[in-house]
Symmetry: C2
Subunit: 105 residues, 2 copies
DNA sequence: GACGCATATGTCGTATCTGACATACACTCG
DNA sequence: CGAGTGTATGTCAGATACGACATATGCGTC
């Protein structure tokens, strides 16, 4: 199983490596998880491009380093809400956020 | 105060018509609320174009009529998470969702 | 007016998300 | 090899978002 698929499954709240390893996400679920991953990747891009640490970003957002790490990993415990709010807080525009979401997988 | 602004404030969880009626959302807050409203409007568009009732949509989503009404109103109790998931469940593509978000206000 | 249907608003118990903390891992520099 | 720095993972109490229900409003039709 490739990395991207594995992340997708983890983000959806499933375990990889179980006895029954074949899981099919519905199209909507897959689309939703991919959308989340796109936002997460974008967030990491912004941070890295500015040369910021996760700790620094956490302070800017009024959150913690661990949550920033989870956001960038598109962890199942972070919502699209939080990702979008955070991106806007980091300076991304509504338009940019939309473009990241719209970009075909 | 015009209707759009009023909705924006309500969605942000504030009361309109108070003694101190002048509130300024930060740019990020405003962008976030507008983004939410765009999704909410898009959801209503989809429903109306198909000639569906809120009750019907609620069944499709496995939710209730009241929540659908709140979604379309971009109520402060509905998350972008729920809006995006619902839009995907109603047949919108990730690309369409992104375009709705990206469209300039 | 009274009924039926669609939508809006308010509240509630429960489930999920959040920030915080602890801790583990990875890597670099002495 | 430590020690320092940055990132990842696990857990928890408190916050908030969820579906559900009751009820209100609007609006045709009789």
């Amino acid at each position: 199983m490739n990395k991207a698929k594995e992340n997708r499954l983890k983000a959806a709240g499933w375990h990889v490596g179980d006895a029954s390893d074949f899981l099919d996400l519905t199209d909507q679920e897959a689309a939703f998880v991919e959308l989340k991953l796109a936002l997460a990747d974008y967030m990491r891009d912004i941070r890295v491009q500015h040369g910021w640490t996760q700790t620094h970003v956490a302070h800017v957002l009024g959150s913690s380093q661990s949550r920033v790490a989870k956001m960038e990993a598109a962890d199942s415990s972070v919502s699209v809400d939080l990702l979008v709010k955070s991106l806007l807080a980091l300076g991304a525009s509504r338009k940019q956020v939309g473009q990241v979401i719209a970009r075909a997988a």
